[in-house]
């Protein structure tokens, strides 16, 4: 083999095999360097120098914002899981008003930007019904938004259930309830868990939009800080990094679930 080809090979994934650790690390490093170089080049064109001195000064506020983002996201996740499941079940209801209500809900929420929903909900519904607390309003809006996506994840995985599996359960004498408990439920968990985990990362990112109704979460905190320090770039770089700290581990867990529950794979 000629040496050129050997070098070229360093950057190629082997066929039908997982990438060896060394090769993976090398190439990942390469990509990171690439990203940094592009970023740095752009910055030097703009002639910007960084100072992250403000972090010391505003550390407490940043931490508070970070914690609020985590709280918002966690509470919203729990509520949206419950609501999303209900809606997914409701979409299969034989009672038509319920079915259509759930259907319309999913279509409207998924068909409009979150920012529109936040404004409409907060200023019209929120005001009319006296929901003044911004944290509660934020959690409600976010939950209602995410639940529509979660309902779709659940619905999709139900539709992808193999009919023969249900028929097999029938043929063995399982009652409906037993089929639900021993076949449908475990298979749906396996199908939805990776996607639902991934959705949690979306909840975290989407919560940033609540800054527009002045929920002092991470993004809003950073906006306020940058407004006084004028260190816009530094603030947003830090903000992005903080979001990554939250979402990357979640993505990792989602991939783990995917592997763990992929019982269709061969060894």
């Amino acid at each position: 083999m000629n040496p050129l080809k050997n070098i070229f090979n360093l950057f190629l994934a082997p066929k039908n095999k997982s990438v060896p650790l060394f090769k993976g690390a090398l190439n990942y490093l390469l990509v990171c360097v690439l990203i940094i170089v592009v970023f740095w080049a752009s910055l030097s064109v703009l002639n910007i120098t960084f100072s992250f001195g403000f972090v010391d000064l505003y550390g407490k506020r940043i931490l508070d914002g970070f914690i609020l983002t985590v709280q918002l996201s966690l509470v919203s996740l729990v509520i949206s899981l419950l609501l999303g499941t209900l809606v997914a079940v409701g979409q299969r209801s034989r009672i038509l008003p319920i079915r259509y209500l759930c259907d319309a809900y999913v279509k409207i929420i998924r068909g409009t930007p979150l920012i529109v929903q936040i404004y409409l909900f907060f200023y019209i519904i929120g005001t009319a019904w006296g929901i003044k607390n911004r944290f509660i309003a934020g959690v409600l809006i976010l939950s209602i938004f995410e639940a529509a996506y979660i309902a779709e994840i659940i619905r999709g995985s139900f539709l992808s259930l193999d009919k023969t599996q249900l028929e097999a359960a029938n043929s063995l004498g399982f009652t409906r309830r037993q089929t639900l408990r021993y076949v449908i439920f475990p298979q749906m968990i396996a199908r939805t868990l990776p996607a639902l985990t991934g959705q949690f990362a979306n909840v975290i990112k989407d919560s940033s939009l609540l800054s527009i109704i002045a929920v002092i979460e991470m993004t809003q905190t950073m906006r306020e800080i940058s407004a006084t320090t004028f260190q816009l770039f530094e603030s947003y770089i830090l903000l992005g990094a903080l979001y990554l700290c939250l979402t990357l581990p979640i993505t990792f867990v989602s991939h783990l679930f995917e592997k763990r529950f992929n019982y269709a794979r061969k060894t």
């Binding site: 193999d162 023969t164 029938n170 043929s171 063995l172 076949v183 269709a264």
Partner: protein, 244 residues
């Protein structure tokens, strides 16, 4: 076991898929044969309680099958059913596939169910495959495990719907051998199959289903040697066409 079908009809919408299928006989090893779309699967599903007929009645050992929704699970639990493919639960190992119905439906203790499952796996040459998931087994192994599961609770009758037709030829025989062994050990079965050699030599009775009608019924030797209807003659003739 005595099986009696009384004028079974099945309509899907406007289409009559089974027309007045009647039969009354002692059945040990019955093969249902016939061209594609003739209604074989439909009839088997009706016998298995997986499908409610549009008309007619079914008796097993002179006991009428009640197709009421709440009676069916108990009825199905007395039978074994093997699907063409993919009948094993994807999310359970081969061993659990066999053990779970014993525990859930038949109230066997977990320990006993697992023991019984291992026994059956050994019997079907899958002794060391028990921990594998269905997707990790070959097609032939999957079908043998499915058969093991079907007979685990000592069913009165085992129904098999083309258990080998999704398999590569090399796996077909191993599965047919297993089914033949069932017959030898006194397990009664009804099999839908396109394997005419098996129908002829391993089964004692043959039902020929054509266009939703039971055109011929009789002992396997008789039916294969002297097919009376032109349809069966043609059907058998076609099969011989490509024989080596």
């Amino acid at each position: 076991m005595h099986v009696r079908l009384e004028g079974i009809d099945m309509n899907f919408g406007e289409v009559a898929v089974l027309k007045q299928v009647s039969l009354s006989d002692r059945i040990d090893k019955l093969a249902i044969i016939g061209p594609s779309g003739g209604g074989k699967t439909t009839l088997l599903r009706i016998i298995g309680g997986l499908l409610v007929p549009s008309g007619g009645r079914l008796f097993l050992d002179e006991q009428e099958v009640d197709y009421a929704e709440n009676k069916l699970p108990a009825y199905r639990a007395q039978l074994g059913y093997v699907f063409q493919q993919g009948g094993l639960f994807h999310h359970l190992s081969a061993r659990k596939n066999i053990a779970l119905p014993l525990q859930v439906v038949h109230g066997t203790s977990e320990e006993e169910a697992l023991e019984r499952a291992q026994e059956l796996l050994n019997r079907f040459g899958l002794g060391s495959e028990g921990d594998k998931m269905p997707a990790q087994l070959s097609g032939g192994q999957q079908q043998r495990a499915a058969i093991a599961r079907a007979i685990a609770a000592s069913p009165k009758l085992v129904l098999l719907d083309e258990p080998t037709s999704a398999l590569d030829p090399e796996y077909t025989n191993e599965v047919l051998d297993v089914i033949n062994d069932l017959g030898e050990t006194g397990i009664r079965f009804i099999i839908v199959t396109h394997e005419m050699g098996f129908a002829r030599h391993a089964c004692d009775k043959i039902a020929f289903l054509y266009d939703g009608m039971l055109l011929e019924y009789g002992s396997s030797s008789e039916l294969f040697e002297n097919p009376t209807s032109p349809e069966l003659q043609r059907f058998l003739g076609k099969l011989l066409e490509w024989r080596i």
